[in-house]
């Protein structure tokens, strides 16, 4: 990427009596990698170059900035943050958006205000969240992209097959999907040839954003189940700070129930050091099947290496933002909400130290399917998705725009370690099933 096309007009300093002025002109030539001793200048050279805003400029600028922060190169950091600040916008094209949200995280990191920033962002998001807006958002996203429905279809298939023949089903749903996964499962239960089993659905809510809307969701689910003719019980467990605190009693699991545990994007919210314990807790619930769906990114193994973590974060969210841009219309408010959700995660991952927090802050440190598999193997054995389920997923993907594909279960050693949803040949979501 040619960085020589950035030529700032000359820099001016105001309102800061502590600033020094000398004559060094900040130089963005790519050949000059030496840090400037001071980034101030009073020269007023006229602007002769256009900033190169075609192509993927955000990626290289952001990575340079991350490296500068890691190197603690103060003047370079300032210069790059300035450029990002000028070029970024959360309402522009993909590069401008990525620049904007990552700039926010970098700025928080540089000013050590990550936690407060994250808290403010989360609180505001929660306040402006309503049942209607949350529901509209999820449904719209599911309409234009299989990002979430992929996991739903795979998990439902695995659960139905594993619990075949059981009369009392108890699904522990650890997710923030607002129960959008379950209507199709209820339908499937209702249309079974044999007697319709009873279903108890226990939703464990971890994100505070979702708690407030669960009451209404519960009512709707009960209504729907009645319509389907499925004997149905619904309960919400909230106020659980750590999933490791879950118990059979706490969840109301009875001995005659066949239990399925459904984790959609849930494990990544657990603090990294706690994950082993949580998986063991899940084991202690005695499930017949555990379905795990996670986004395919690794913010965990590199968490002590800022640059590495930053680059992986950038890689993943670039994919996600590009996917969003292609799936929604340019002026979509729903897409904006999803992007803002990302911005909070980005701040959380890059600008907040992983300290134990009483409020049960969501961790957001994703791991890849392979990594989760290593963890899950300690408590469970892999359960493959049957051909039928894979076919269902393929049929689902056909309903969306091109670009989406499925990596089916591999043969050989890694057999049955889940399936991947790919966007333009990049794996983005991982779905897997496990048995005791």
């Amino acid at each position: 990427m040619d960085r020589t096309l950035f030529t700032p007009k000359g820099t001016y300093f105001f309102h800061h009596p502590t600033q020094q002025s000398n004559g060094t002109q900040p130089d963005m030539q790519s050949s000059n990698n030496q840090p400037q001793t001071s980034h101030t200048s009073t020269s007023r050279s006229s602007d002769s170059g256009e900033p190169c805003v075609t192509g993927k400029w955000a990626s290289s600028l952001l990575k340079e900035c991350a490296r500068a922060i890691s190197d603690k190169d103060s003047s370079r950091i300032h210069h790059l943050l300035w450029m990002l600040n000028e070029l970024a916008s959360p309402y522009g094209d993909c590069d401008q958006k990525l620049a904007s949200y990552f700039l926010q995280a970098l700025f928080c990191k540089a000013t050590e205000s990550g936690h407060r920033c994250y808290k403010t962002l989360s609180t505001v998001a929660e306040k402006s969240h309503s049942f209607d807006s949350a529901r509209k958002l999820i449904l719209k996203f599911q309409e234009v992209s299989p990002w979430t429905t992929f996991g739903h279809v795979a998990s439902n298939g695995a659960i139905l097959e594993a619990l075949e023949g059981e009369t009392k089903l108890h699904i522990i749903d650890i997710s923030n999907t607002l129960c959008t996964q379950w209507p199709t499962l209820l339908e499937a239960l209702a249309t079974r040839n044999d007697e319709t089993p009873r279903l108890k659905l226990t939703v464990v809510v971890t994100a505070s954003l979702v708690r407030s809307v669960m009451k209404e969701i519960g009512q709707r689910m009960e209504k729907f189940a009645r319509l389907m003719g499925v004997p149905f019980e619904f309960q919400v467990i909230s106020g659980v700070n750590h999933l490791g605190e879950l118990t059979k009693e706490g969840l109301g699991i009875r001995d005659d129930e066949a239990v399925a545990v459904n984790c959609i994007g849930a494990l990544r919210r657990v603090e990294v050091e706690e994950r082993r314990r949580v998986i063991q807790t899940l084991q202690s619930l005695g499930p017949r099947v555990v379905t795990v769906v996670e986004e395919e990114a690794d913010f965990s193994s590199s968490r002590n290496d800022f640059v590495k973590c930053f680059e992986e974060c950038l890689r993943f969210y670039t994919l996600y933002f590009e996917m969003l841009e292609e799936s929604f219309v340019p002026t979509s408010n729903e897409r904006l909400m999803l992007e803002r959700e990302c911005s909070r995660s980005i701040v959380r991952v890059l600008a907040c130290d992983d300290i134990e927090d009483d409020t049960g802050e969501d961790c957001e440190r994703r791991e890849k399917g392979i990594q989760w598999s290593e963890r899950l193997k300690e408590a469970f054995s892999p359960l493959g998705f049957s051909e039928d389920v894979v076919d269902d997923v393929k049929a689902l993907l056909k309903r969306y725009r091109s670009g989406w594909a499925l990596v089916p279960p591999q043969q050989g050693e890694d057999h049955q370690l889940g399936i991947y949803l790919t966007w333009k040949d990049e794996p983005v979501v991982w779905a897997s099933a496990w048995k005791p």
Binding site: K9, F13, T18, S48, Y91, V124
Partner: protein, 487 residues
């Protein structure tokens, strides 16, 4: 796309032989001479509604200014930045700064009942926005940052309400300013290509640019009456969208076309050369004798007047369409001095009715009113999900808002900018205002007729200027001036 040039045939066909260009009958400063045409308010609709959002903004900001503490600088924490050295001091102070809490008592209780159309959400957002502006004006950056985090999460630029859209951009501009404050860097980076393409869209969906072009062209045409060698200096030519229409008229002039020289000024020699090529080719097709001279400098930074290559015997017109996208001309005092030196036959000036000078809060209040009005005008014609509307709001209007609110003002240089160019010119003996003619008015009228809903736009002629606005608020003013030397 034919290089983005448009020739508005409708306007051309109806041009009457232009009025004799008289300047010796006007008084200076457009004051109370009896020869002056009476101010004419042209309405296409019998009841001019006030722009509701704008009115509410005005009401609340008046209250806000009254509430501000007398001496703003007392007892406030100013942020310090360590720029040299490896460690970062946490710069932004969170928590309650004493000063920031003073002026947060904006009462929304006494809002006119007629503003019921503004939704609760929008009003709440604007209130928070104003509080934020106050925080910034007293250097309470920590508090401002916190409020901006809120605002930027709550307001959407794709919202149905204009208030929400305006807030989302103003909030972003202020957030940008806060970061620049902390960085101690505030010069701008601009992509001229992005600006040019958005301007084209703006030109299609809104009458303001055409208004500027056609009224100025009319004044220039009148100044060039019976002149054979003419030279136009466009202080910020961009893509030269204005000139083909003028070339067309000059080419079909009764007394025959003049030899035309054009000096196009701008920031990049590549873009200027491109513009020159397109204009030359257009002129050639019309059979005009045409020369183009690019000057990649700011007018106010020209030290050597000979670089403009003025030739004796040619009639000089200087044209300036002002905007807030970037600093096109450099230091104002030098610009006006050079204009004085050049003593052109006509200077056509189109200004935004917004002051680039003044304190942050002054600029904030003024621009909030101004841009609310423009957003309203777009909202009246286009649905909230119209991509063209979004392009204009984001790539143009937001860019201007960002510059106006930035540290150092729109020029981003901390230089003193004139509050209003017409006043400055009127105050100098070397310039005499030439009132906009009836033909110029007719041109403006024709343009308005092209834009539905024409009933929202207001065209006002007064003090020799033509002002185009939306409802009660003037947005762009066109005026023309000549030099003493021609008396």
């Amino acid at each position: 796309m034919k290089g983005g040039f448009e020739v508005v045939h409708g306007a051309l066909d109806l041009i009457q032989p232009h009025e004799q260009w008289e300047y010796n009958s006007i008084g200076l400063q457009g004051a109370s001479s009896s020869n002056f045409p009476k101010p004419m308010v042209v309405e296409n609709r019998s009841n001019l509604e006030r722009n509701e959002l704008s009115e509410w903004v005005e009401h609340v900001t008046k209250q806000l200014i009254e509430d501000l503490p007398e001496t703003v600088g007392e007892g406030l924490k100013t942020e310090e930045v360590t720029t040299v050295g490896g460690s970062f001091a946490p710069v932004l102070q969170w928590g309650n700064e004493a000063a920031g809490n003073q002026s947060n008592n904006l009462s929304t209780g006494d809002i006119d009942g007629g503003l019921s159309r503004l939704d609760e959400h929008g009003l709440g957002l604007i209130t928070l926005l104003l509080e934020c502006a106050v925080a910034i004006s007293v250097d309470n950056l920590g508090e401002a940052h916190r409020m901006l985090l809120e605002l930027t999460q709550m307001a959407s630029p794709y919202g149905a309400s204009c208030a929400e859209r305006v807030v989302s951009y103003f909030a972003k501009a202020m957030a940008s300013r806060v970061i620049n404050s902390w960085l101690g860097l505030c010069s701008p980076l601009i992509s001229h290509k992005a600006v040019h393409s958005s301007l084209q869209i703006f030109n299609n969906i809104s009458p303001f640019i055409k208004f500027a072009h056609f009224t100025s062209n009319q004044s220039i045409l009148e100044a060039f009456h019976r002149r054979d060698m003419v030279h136009i200096i466009d202080l910020d030519i961009m893509q030269g969208l204005q000139w083909p229409a003028l070339f067309h008229i000059l080419a079909t002039r009764i007394e025959g076309p003049p030899h035309i020289r054009m000096t196009g000024m701008g920031s990049s020699i590549e873009l200027l050369t491109q513009t020159g090529k397109q204009l030359s080719s257009f002129a050639r097709r019309l059979g005009l004798s045409f020369e183009f001279h690019p000057v990649a400098k700011k007018f106010g930074e020209i030290n050597d007047i000979t670089s403009l290559q003025i030739r004796s015997g040619e009639t000089l017109a200087v044209h300036w369409l002002q905007h807030s996208l970037y600093d096109a001309t450099g230091p104002d005092w030098k610009t006006i001095r050079l204009l004085e030196q050049l003593a052109p036959r006509v200077i056509t000036l189109v200004e935004q009715e917004i002051s680039h000078g003044g304190s942050f809060l002054d600029r904030f209040v003024g621009s909030l009113h101004y841009y609310s009005t423009i957003f309203d005008s777009l909202g009246a014609s286009f649905p909230s999900d119209d991509p063209g509307r979004h392009r204009v709001e984001h790539c143009l209007l937001y860019r201007e808002i960002n510059n106006i609110l930035a540290i150092g003002g729109p020029a981003r240089s901390g230089e003193d900018k004139f509050r209003q160019w017409r006043s400055e010119m009127a105050a100098r003996n070397c310039f005499i205002q030439v009132p906009m003619s009836g033909n110029a008015m007719a041109q403006a009228q024709l343009i308005l007729n092209m834009f539905p809903p024409a009933h929202g736009y207001s065209l006002v002629q007064g003090e020799g200027t033509l002002r185009l606005g939306w409802k009660d608020t003037g947005l762009y003013s066109a005026s023309a001036w000549t030099s003493q030397a021609y008396r």
